[in-house]
Amino acid sequence: MTSFVSTLTRPKSAQAISLTKTPLTAVHHAAMTTHKRWPLGALRRAVSRSFSSSSSTASTTTDAASATFPLKNVTRSNFDSVLSELRSHVRAADFVAIDLEMTGITSAPWRESFEFDRFDIRYLKVRDSAEKFAVLQFGVCPFRWDPLKQSFIAHPHNFFVFPRQEIPLDGQSYEFLCQTSSMDFLAKYQFDFNACINEGISFLSRRQEDEALSRLKLGLMDSWQGSSECTDFPLVRVADVLFTERMKKKLSEWRDGLLQNRDGGLQYQSHSNELKQQLQTVFFEMRPALSLTGFTSHQLKLIKMLTKKHFKDLAYVHRSNEISSQELVVYTDSESDKDLLMKMMKDDHRKQAQRKIKDAVGFRHVVDLLSSESKLIVGHNCFLDIAHISRKFLGPLPPTAEEFVSSINKYLPHIIDTKILLNADNILQQQMKRARTTLSSAFSILCPEIAHGSKSSILPHQPCVKVEVQVDDLRSSNWNSGAKHEAGYDAFMTGCIFAQACSHLGVEFSPSRNLAQNEKLQKHINLLYLTWTNGVIIDLRTGNRIAESLGANLKKFPPILFENIILIWGFPSKLKAREIRECISKVFGPRSVTAIYHIDQTAVFVQFSKTELVSDFLTLKEVLEKNNDLITELHPLSKLLEGGNTGAASYEAYKEICSSPIAKILFADQAEAVGIKWKTKLLVPQVEVETQEHASSSPESTAKTESDVAGESETAKEVGDSEENNPPCGRFMNGEKNNPPYRRFMSDKIIDSLFADEVKHIRTVKY
């Protein structure tokens, strides 16, 4: 155990390593900036970390108990004790910050977030992610306001979670996906996978628990409790027949011995030594019994069968507890006594099974605690976090965002997203605009004192909110574990940002007031970015969608009209976007295509200028595919249809494809696997056709207009500017949390040709 604990404690030397590495990485990254944007972030992080470490050592001289102790790591060995402590912390807390680390973000490149994603598509993509990937770490950090110290007391907890199957769930074994780059990224941040897999806390969702309990009620858990109805099977092997005969003799000898010596005590003596060891007379629930040891499971099955068949007054009993299990043949006085015994055993098994199920609930106790205490939950760009919580601890996610939102609102009634908070307030936004509203940059800008001990605040008139960290008996008002991308620490940063933002908004802290009811926070509470790319916010209370409008560049770009969009996939791989555009323009006119957008190298969205063109195109394509003559070959579209694998469909098919659980890496394969039988399909939109306004704060995240086709890349600057200091698909949240448009799909490339390598390029630049 000790060795394990030591592995959990992240080596402090990591800081030193990152420090020395810095110049090297800088060179490396400078050379690679075009290919990999994120290392810049890593560099920055390294720099800031080295900075923070040096500052923290400086402060150690002033504050003896400062800065260096690790946060509370929780695994299954210390889970129970931590849980009871956490209960009191959460009860006393004003709010609880959370953060999750997962095994990946997107199951395929085309499942990343695009500007052309309608809100329902976006939800489907998030749902797919939450369904497929596993949570490995869960950070919980309760914050309590201490009015005497005029400071928050934070208790950062870092739970290692692993979806071990503690009880069999209906034959099906769970399986989760890992995104290679995410795993690699986590490994780079010294994530301890061994701790996770060996010692991670398992859990059951509410749905799983209910199912297990109801199966128990039906008596079906018996099978795994080992007391299933003994099936009668014919004895085939000679060895079995002989064994059965001998055991029959032994058992009747033993029983007869009991009956004869009723008054004179037990005098059963087995004749053979070997059997004596295997059969020992004991007492079980005040009844004489033979304890069976050293038999194989097959032999036990035979004994069980013959006991049932030949001895009315003997009962075969299996008893087990946490420590051991025991097989017994028990003597009963009468039929009713036997029934009594069997009933007792059955109850015993049931209780045990119930206990087992209860134990298997495991980590869900923590989330249930947050739910039952109805505390204010604080996350950073946490829609995906919340989706994971819902999927892992409630049950499978509903098909629509509205249903999801209403179920989560019942489970966690007060959720606040610091990203919303930062973007909603003008002053904060201005401050943040210099940097990005990513978790780590927001933290270092809003809480410089905590982040690197510096007193200078970007909000000059605002005092820094003090946060004191308590882990077990260690306390520090100047704590910095330095372990970013560790759920517990990220949760702590989120909480600090929230506290600072509250103070800026003039929210007064006091233990008597409930933050969740605070009127100044009301207009921010329960709002989450459904898609940060498009600035669409969903209200958890009502399920309404709000397009965050910043107005400025609304006119500059054409709106995305989903009913004008057509999906084309499986075209010849050498075809570039420009050629596709030319192809279509030749048929439908030079101004027919508004935009072309690559989903991946096998598929594009084409937005037409008129809705009718969608059906026109699909009809024409069908006609061309039917007649295979010279005219077809000479037709301008034949270039697109070459190879015969080209599929096309209206936007609704995109939804169908996204909602499928199948995970093919290439879009064209996915479309085929989803079983879209039609190569050409026109679906009448079920959702009211709507225009998704491009009203996000990220102007570059919009499709290009015709005029932009000229090929200038004026957005490149902005891309560079807002590109984030986080790795591509890094830790899960990062993609979302830290990056404005979470997948920056370099819009200057939208029209431009996309060679395979360019697709790759975009992929790595990402968000």
Partner: protein, 623 residues
């Protein structure tokens, strides 16, 4: 039933662990990670050349997530392959143990076991080898219990690219290719355009070289020379002057190479592919002497070699094995080689035949321990190495002396990859039992012993051997030896949850006259059962009865309550279409819906047989 199965699996697994604990003796297996890969590769290559066979053993992150996804006795080779393919596509290999070995005197095995730790890291930043992969927690915890270090694996595991991925990567990275790698085939008669092009190139080269000769006379300062380079566009390749000639077709590449060859001996042409893969330009490098030219060529070769090593990573090992053309032994060849093919060769083809032919190009002979076990007459379920070993131990006296050639390593804790040595041992035993060893040894490397030939390349442990008569029905190799053909099989579902086999059989017996004849029922998963009619033709009449409107009695009631039945063809189609739902019933229903394909697959009514086995097998390797 399934729950019981799972429990059994778990228990068996425990016994497996305890067995390894009991057996204190561990062979020293060389553990290879990224840091010692290069050295180990050379060592491996020498060991490989001195051995006769290669044993392989893989550690995957999972095998199947629903009971029916596992290869079952009722699978034909085709459906078994589809199931194996489904697993190989999703799961990942984390350990790959390889052991070149040879058997001398029939009883002495000299083995060189290696255990490679793999992780599909995207070393080249190309989104390869794998974007994501699936894991089953049970597999990971099992590995964890054996002391597997996941941190080390993810940090220090060796990456790789499959052959197919390598060719894509090469194109994308656009490294210069020396002409020896460029095909020089077409000998079309030169056209006028060609000769004009040639003349132009020739004069360009002449001017360039002339200019160089002049300037090289003077020794310029570094600044001046770099300025000159900027202005005149002179380029350098590894400190040698060079010129880049743009081309627009392969023909022109050919011509440029010809011109360079005619022009002068000290010029070396290099081909630069564009990002799209086509040749875009030829770079001509001027060397100062014959020696310098050789040096340059060697430099380029080294560069390519290093680059290839970086690209191929662990696949070098696969390529070495493949190049040796030596027989490969594995425990479950269908599973193992579908993984190997999918990760190191190319994506798995849609059908078993294509798979087998593609694989045989890479590995000409493959032996399956499971299959060899059956050849010894083993009717027991020896689906794991330990069972096989103890079976052989009880039946035959075959002392095998294992000599593991590695130096004792400083081992902390468990040594991974022990199984591969067990495979060597088992194989040696089996050869000896089947009396085929002695001949094998004399035949050298190129050919497998004729005695062994009959056992090679059998991919489904459940399938019949090729030499068995094709019209032969099913041979059941467990308790009750019975025969059945796929046409006599029917899948049933919609009979309500959680019925035991016996209850279901009872229900059916009372349902229809057909069931007064002899039949058997097995549950495939919670929702679906498979029925075998021992009298041929009854399956079809049952299906007809289910679909006729004259249906009556309790069968009618059952149908109205949701009972459905389909023939084996629908099951096959479900596998072919990749309808891997959790419940087989759902997959079958979807397959029924798929009308388009039904016509197609009905047409190829190739009767095939399966091995009807009375128990669903439990494969320890699947845990």
């Amino acid at each position: 039933m399934v729950a019981a199965l799972l429990q059994l699996q778990r228990r068996l697994f425990c016994s497996k662990v305890s067995q390894t604990h009991r057996q204190q003796r561990q062979w020293s297996v060389k553990q290879v990670t990224k840091s010692n890969f290069k050295d180990s590769l050379e060592e491996f290559s020498t060991h490989l050349s001195s051995s006769d066979f290669i044993a392989v053993s893989l550690q995957n992150t999972g095998s199947f997530n629903a009971p029916w996804h596992r290869v079952s006795p009722f699978d034909t080779p085709d459906t078994a392959y589809l199931k194996a393919r489904y697993a190989a596509d999703r799961f990942q290999l984390l350990q790959f143990a390889v052991c070149p070995f040879k058997i001398t005197d029939g009883s002495k095995v000299t083995a060189h076991p290696y255990n490679f730790h793999l992780f599909p890291r995207d070393e080249l930043n190309l989104g390869m080898p794998s974007y994501s992969f699936s894991c089953q927690p049970s597999f990971l915890t099992a590995m964890a219990r054996q002391g597997f270090d996941f941190n080390a694996c993810i940090n220090d595991g060796i990456s790789y690219l499959s052959r197919a991925q390598e060719s894509v990567a090469k194109v994308r990275m656009g490294n210069p290719i020396p002409i020896c790698n460029f095909m020089q085939s077409s000998t079309t008669p030169p056209t006028v355009a060609d000769s004009i092009f040639k003349e132009r190139i020739k004069s360009r080269l002449k001017h360039w070289k002339h200019g160089l000769d002049n300037s090289s006379m003077k020794t310029e300062e570094a600044l001046v020379s770099s300025l000159r380079k900027l202005i005149s566009g002179f380029e350098q390749y590894s400190s040698r002057p060079c010129i880049t000639i743009d081309v627009c077709s392969d023909r022109q590449v050919q011509l440029v190479i010809e011109v360079v060859g005619e022009f002068s001996d000290d010029l070396v042409p290099l081909i630069l592919p564009s990002k799209g893969g086509e040749v875009q330009s030829v770079r001509v490098v001027l060397t100062s002497s014959k020696e310098d030219k050789d040096l340059l060529e060697r430099e380029i070769q080294n560069l390519e070699y290093n680059h290839n090593q970086k690209v191929r990573g662990f696949r070098e090992v696969i390529d070495l094995i493949s190049a040796s053309q030596k027989p490969v032994v594995s425990h479950n060849t269908l599973n193992d080689f579908s993984f190997i093919h999918s990760k190191f060769i190319a994506p798995l083809p849609p059908s078993l035949n294509e798979f087998v032919s593609s694989l045989s190009m890479v590995f000409p002979s493959i032996f399956d321990i499971n299959h060899l076990m059956k050849e010894t007459g083993a009717l027991e379920k020896c689906t794991n190495l330990f069972a096989a070993k103890s079976y052989l131990k009880n039946r035959f006296f075959v002392p095998i002396d294992i000599d593991v050639q590695h130096q004792a390593l400083s081992n902390e804790g468990k040594i991974h990859g022990q199984n591969v040595v067990r495979i060597c041992q088992l194989f040696a035993k089996l050869c000896s039992v089947l009396r085929i060893t002695s001949t094998a040894m004399e035949l050298g490397n190129k050919h497998v012993a004729s005695g062994l030939e009959g056992y090679a390349n059998i991919f489904n442990s459940f399938s019949r051997r090729p030499q068995e008569p094709v019209d032969g029905d099913i041979r059941v190799w467990t308790k009750s030896p019975r025969k059945a053909s796929c046409e006599d099989l029917v899948f049933l579902w919609g009979f309500g949850d959680r019925l035991s086999t016996r209850m279901l059989k009872g229900l059916l017996q009372g349902a229809h006259d057909i069931f007064s004849e002899e039949f058997d029922v097995r549950l495939v998963d919670n929702s679906c059962a498979i029925v075998v009619f021992w009298q041929s033709g009854l399956a079809q009449s049952f299906l007809d009865a289910m679909n006729s409107d004259k249906i009556s009695g309790s069968l009618r009631d059952m149908v109205s309550e949701g009972l459905r039945a389909v023939g084996y063809g629908t099951y096959k189609r479900a596998c072919e279409l990749g309808l891997w739902e959790v419940d087989l019933a759902d997959s079958l229903e979807k397959a029924m819906d798929d009308v388009d394909c039904s016509d197609k697959s009905d047409s190829d009514t190739k009767p095939s047989e399966i091995y009807w086995c009375n128990d669903l097998m439990i494969n320890l390797d699947d845990l």
